[in-house]
């Protein structure tokens, strides 16, 4: 009988062991098995043997795994080192590819972070995510509307999921210190509970308390750190000092620490003293409401309680609350989860698109580099390197390039994001960014960039590597030793070349055209924009109009009140002139459709123009003197007015130069625009009495916009039309002042003058026209720079890519060219064949790109577009042809005999 261990177990053991120790260990176990079998019988010996086989196999498997991991980690390190060497060895590829990916990353990461900070920021306060904002959803208006102080009272008493409920309104206010320092503060009239809710202790003194809200309490203010620094010169003991706030003596009781700006970016806080008589449903002042979720409460539980309160209010006051439903959301969140995801994915797509374009181009260049390393790759394969090993090496090389570029891109974003944010808020005419704004990149954004970097490295490294390592090693080695590679830029690459040129031709002229428009600034430069002060004039939102009669009275009187303010300011010796016009809210207004009806001899012309309602002084003040017909005269201002004037730009852009004086304009349908005071009523028909020069700047910003100037009395004034209903801050109008040369700043006194006419009026967004528009102009310039950078990168990549592709496709045909020469083909014929193919590819790309670019450019207003189309197309064609020249010359210089011999 055999004393051998069970065969299957023995085979299993033999298979599990490395070959160098296999015989020794199997022999040892055989020896021990024999001994055990003799002592204890076959079964016990077999069981023991099985246990040993399992233990030894497991142990060696673990050992192998450990060795593999160690080997892999050392090979990864080596690959990364080789990748770094490649960066140095091919500096042009590193530079071109690196810049392209870095800029694509910077734009993508920046945009993604910006949107995140803007729409769903996290508050830098203790448990900031538990601070919520409350509002009403208006079923009729289809949007949100502020809640009221009545709601605040009701919810304070009935919602247990919320604590420290409070309300605020914000306004800008002039502040004059007891030592005569004058400035403007961003003021919040706010419930005292806000300070306990934010859990931020004061820097000096105290914050607001409930006792301050009592109507008979001494008026007090808490200042922000920067207001304390600038207006009270950082006085170490500011409490008790009395400042004039909006003309009212107010005692400073505390200073908040640096960086505190709740609710947005405020730097002064006064208690909200609501008159209990005002706290009636439908009449109480509207405000933004805030609260902190009580311990254990969630957004859902608080919303459930709000729903109950909403239903109760709707049952008690169906006329007021029937269409409203109370809602809450994270305090600074400006978009629902779904909308945020939509915007983020939109931005993400842009990023992915940019990155794909950049990576596809870099992949082309890397492929070209891989072609030059084909011999090295084939030799390594024949020496035993697996395909996976070579692909992973090329991936690691790409990862080094993409990783370095992504890191640079993120650093670029980190450096520029804060500036762009500040500029964005400048453009929004906010005095500074909200207090939660920060320059840091969120972990989500960083993770996103890392994932995309990996995807980019896969595109750049793996695709060319797979192509380079495909096929039989022997064949590849054979071809290489015969002097030619097997890699070909075949049909796929022809498509790539054509698409590459097409995208460049389609995109670049648009970029140049857009950038040209943004850099245009013909009027702001020659116009004394800083001599003009502008401000918005409206009602203090925290002083409610109690009855509809009051509303109507205010509306009817508002124009008179505004004119009173104007006349009062005009008496100031530092002021050269004052005018009123409809609001700056038209900043992004693209204009309304109008129809020009001439004298009846030609068909009506449809156009789009912006309409500005102006008072009697506006056109003179802004230097818009008449050049045809007449300006608006006294007789044109009145209840039955029909006269308007248009500017030069209107005549040039909208009417193609026709003289409009004596013709009529009809205002067409409104396309869903809210009816605000800036435009006369739909269907209104007016007479053009004159054409005026383009003023340097008006409410539409610098530049020659087609504008219709109509008398302020032309617009229908109804509560809904001026937006008074449901909106605390309307109506408003824009005040324009021209200061006398060398006059001291007026801002501080301006608040006093306005308050003296009517204490319920307030000024906001006070600044010079230069200050008002320069950031906007700067914003469009930055946009233009981004456009130009992307354009320049696309061009750089295109030229490099096309050069690489062309030069490689031609160099692959070196042998063919030499043989053709050997069999008698003329040089001219060969050049024609090679260049013919290149020209076809280049022209096909240009034609395809032009198909997209030309119709878009035709609609554009800038003149640079068509010119740049020609420039870009020529540049690409020249690059492509230049790329063919060197290899063709080389091929033609080969001796035919040598070519045939090598074959």
């Amino acid at each position: 009988m055999s004393a051998s261990p069970p065969g299957p177990l023995r085979r299993l053991l033999a298979r599990a062991l490395p070959s160098d120790v296999r015989e020794g260990i199997v022999g040892d176990l055989d020896e021990l098995y024999g001994a055990r079998r003799r002592q204890g019988g076959a079964t016990r010996a077999a069981l023991w043997y099985a246990g040993q086989v399992l233990a030894i196999s497991g142990r060696f498997a673990a050992e192998r795994l450990r060795d593999d991991l160690a080997a892999r980690s050392s090979s990864v390190g080596l690959d990364l080192k080789l990748g770094l060497r490649m960066l140095v060895k091919y500096p042009m590829l590193t530079l071109v590819g690196g810049i392209a990916i870095a800029v694509a990353t910077a734009i993508g990461v920046g945009a993604s972070e910006f949107v995140r900070d803007l729409l769903a920021p996290s508050l830098p306060l203790e448990d900031g995510e538990r601070i919520v904002r409350l509002y009403q959803l208006d079923a009729d208006a289809g949007g949100s509307t502020p809640a009221s102080l009545y709601d605040l009272e009701v919810w304070r008493a009935s919602i247990s999921s919320l604590e420290e409920l409070g309300a605020y309104v914000t306004l800008e206010q002039g502040l004059v210190s007891d030592r005569g320092d004058v400035g403007t503060v961003s003021l919040a009239r706010i419930s005292a509970s806000a300070f306990r809710m934010t859990r931020v202790p004061p820097h000096l003194g105290r914050f607001l308390i409930e006792a301050d809200e009592h109507p008979d309490a001494t008026p007090v203010v808490v200042l922000g750190y920067d207001a304390w620094q600038t207006l009270l010169s950082g006085d170490p003991d500011p409490t008790g000092r009395v400042v004039q706030l909006g003309g009212m003596p107010t005692t400073v009781v505390g200073v908040m620490p640096e960086g505190f700006g709740f609710p947005l970016m405020q730097n002064a806080w006064v208690p909200w003293r609501a008159d209990p008589a005002d706290l009636q449903p439908g009449r109480a002042p509207r405000a933004t409401l805030f609260a902190r979720l009580a311990p254990g409460a969630t957004l859902t539980s608080a919303q459930a309680e709000l729903d109950i309160a909403g239903r109760r209010a709707a049952a008690d006051f169906p006329e007021i609350y029937g269409r409203l439903s109370p809602k809450l959301s994270a305090f600074a969140r400006r978009a629902s989860g779904g909308r945020l995801a939509l915007v983020l994915s939109g931005v993400g797509l842009l990023f992915v698109f940019l990155l794909v374009v950049a990576c596809a181009n870099v992949a082309t260049l890397v492929f070209a580099r891989t072609v030059t390393r084909e011999g090295e790759i084939a030799v390594r394969t024949s020496l035993g390197a697996t395909r996976g090993r070579i692909v992973s090496q090329l991936f690691a090389e790409a990862l080094v390039l993409v990783g370095a570029a992504t890191l640079s891109g993120m650093l670029l974003t980190r450096v520029t994001l804060g500036r762009i944010g500040r500029l964005f808020f400048d453009v929004q005419q906010a005095p500074r960014p909200p207090f939660w704004w920060n320059d840091a990149l969120s972990p989500g954004t960083i993770a996103y960039a890392i994932v995309l970097a990996l995807v980019g490295a896969l595109m750049i490294g793996v695709v060319p590597a797979l192509k380079a390592t495909g096929g039989d090693v022997q064949t590849r080695l054979g071809r290489i030793s015969a002097g030619g590679g097997q890699l070909r830029f075949g049909g796929v690459w022809t498509v790539v070349i054509v698409l590459q040129i097409a995208i460049s031709v389609a995109f670049l002229p648009l970029a140049v055209s857009q950038a040209g428009t943004a850099f245009e600034n013909p009027l702001l430069t020659g116009f004394p924009a800083d001599a003009f002060v502008t401000a918005q004039l409206g009602r203090d939102p925290s002083v409610p109009l109690r009855t509809e009669a009051e509303e109507t009275l205010f509306l009817e009187g508002s124009q008179r009140l505004f004119q009173e303010v104007r006349d009062r300011i005009a008496t100031d010796p530092t002021v050269q002139g004052v005018a009123l016009a409809s609001g700056l809210s038209a900043m992004n207004h693209i204009g309304s459709p109008v129809e020009f009806v001439g004298d009846g001899s030609s068909p009506p012309i449809s156009a789009r123009a912006r309409t500005l309602l102006v008072d009697r002084s506006y056109l003179d003040l802004m230097g818009a003197t008449p050049i045809a017909g007449q300006s608006l005269g006294d007789a044109d201002f009145g209840p039955n007015t029909r006269a308007v004037v248009v500017n030069q730009a209107f005549v040039e852009h909208a009417l193609g130069g026709r003289n409009p004086v004596g013709g009529q304009l009809r205002f067409s349908e409104r396309e869903g625009e809210a009816s605000i005071v800036t435009t006369p009523a739909q269907g209104a028909s007016v007479d053009i009495v004159g054409v005026v020069r383009n003023p340097g700047v008006d409410v539409f910003g610098p530049g020659a916009h087609a504008v219709i100037y109509a008398p302020l009395d032309l617009a229908p004034v109804t509560p809904r039309a001026v937006g008074l209903v449901g909106m605390p801050q309307a109506p408003a109008t824009q005040l324009f002042l021209r200061m006398r040369p060398g006059a001291p700043p007026l801002a501080g006194r301006l608040y006093g003058m306005v308050g003296a006419v009517d204490p319920t009026l307030r000024l906001s967004e006070v600044g010079t026209l230069g200050e008002a528009w320069r950031p906007v102009h700067m914003g469009s310039r930055i946009g233009a720079w981004i456009f130009m950078s992307v354009g320049a990168i696309v061009l750089m990549l295109s030229v490099a890519g096309i050069y690489a592709l062309m030069s490689f496709t031609v160099s692959q045909r070196t042998r063919e060219i030499a043989i053709r020469t050997a069999v008698g083909a003329g040089r001219r014929q060969i050049v024609r064949v090679i260049f013919g193919r290149a020209v076809v590819q280049l022209l096909a790309g240009v034609a395809l790109g032009s198909l997209v670019a030309v119709p878009v450019l035709r609609d554009g207003v800038a003149d640079e577009g068509p010119g740049s189309l020609v420039v870009v197309s020529t540049l690409l064609i020249v690059a492509g042809l230049a790329a063919c020249t060197v290899p063709v010359r080389r091929a033609l210089s080969i001796e035919p005999a040598a070519a045939i011999k090598s074959e």
């Binding site: 004393a3 051998s4 490395p18 160098d20 120790v21 015989e23 020794g24 260990i25 199997v26 022999g27 040892d28 055989d30 020896e31 021990l32 024999g34 040993q52 233990a55 030894i56 497991g58 142990r59 060696f60 050992e63």
Partner: protein, 110 residues
């Protein structure tokens, strides 16, 4: 600087030195178990021997095939000079750590 020896590695090397005649898997395991009075995992001994050989501390050769092993050779091991030096170094390090401590008094120390 070469990696020092672990406790188990020292035991295996010392067992190789103690075994009279050919030192291979079976007597090495027996030697460790006899001297320490502990059960030893055979698999651990084989893996350790392989690692020590990879580090050049031991070397191995195949003996003549024997009948009791089903015609298989023994993988015999011997300690190389560098392995012996590392053993001495390990012992010196341990003795230096013990110094003049009385092994009996160690348990009484606070």
């Amino acid at each position: 600087m070469p990696k020092g020896l672990g406790e188990f590695e020292q035991m295996v090397l010392l067992a190789v030195l103690h075994v009279k005649g050919d030192a291979y898997g079976v007597p090495i395991v027996d030697e460790i178990e006899r001297r320490t009075g502990r059960k030893v995992s055979r698999a651990a001994v084989y893996v350790t021997l392989r690692r020590l050989e990879a580090r050049g501390l031991v070397s191995s050769w195949m003996s003549e095939p024997t009948g009791e092993r089903g015609g298989k050779s023994r993988r015999c091991v011997r300690v190389e000079p560098v392995g012996a030096e590392m053993l001495r170094e390990s012992r010196r390090a341990m003795e230096s750590m013990w110094g003049d401590l009385d092994p009996e008094s160690v348990q009484d120390a606070p």
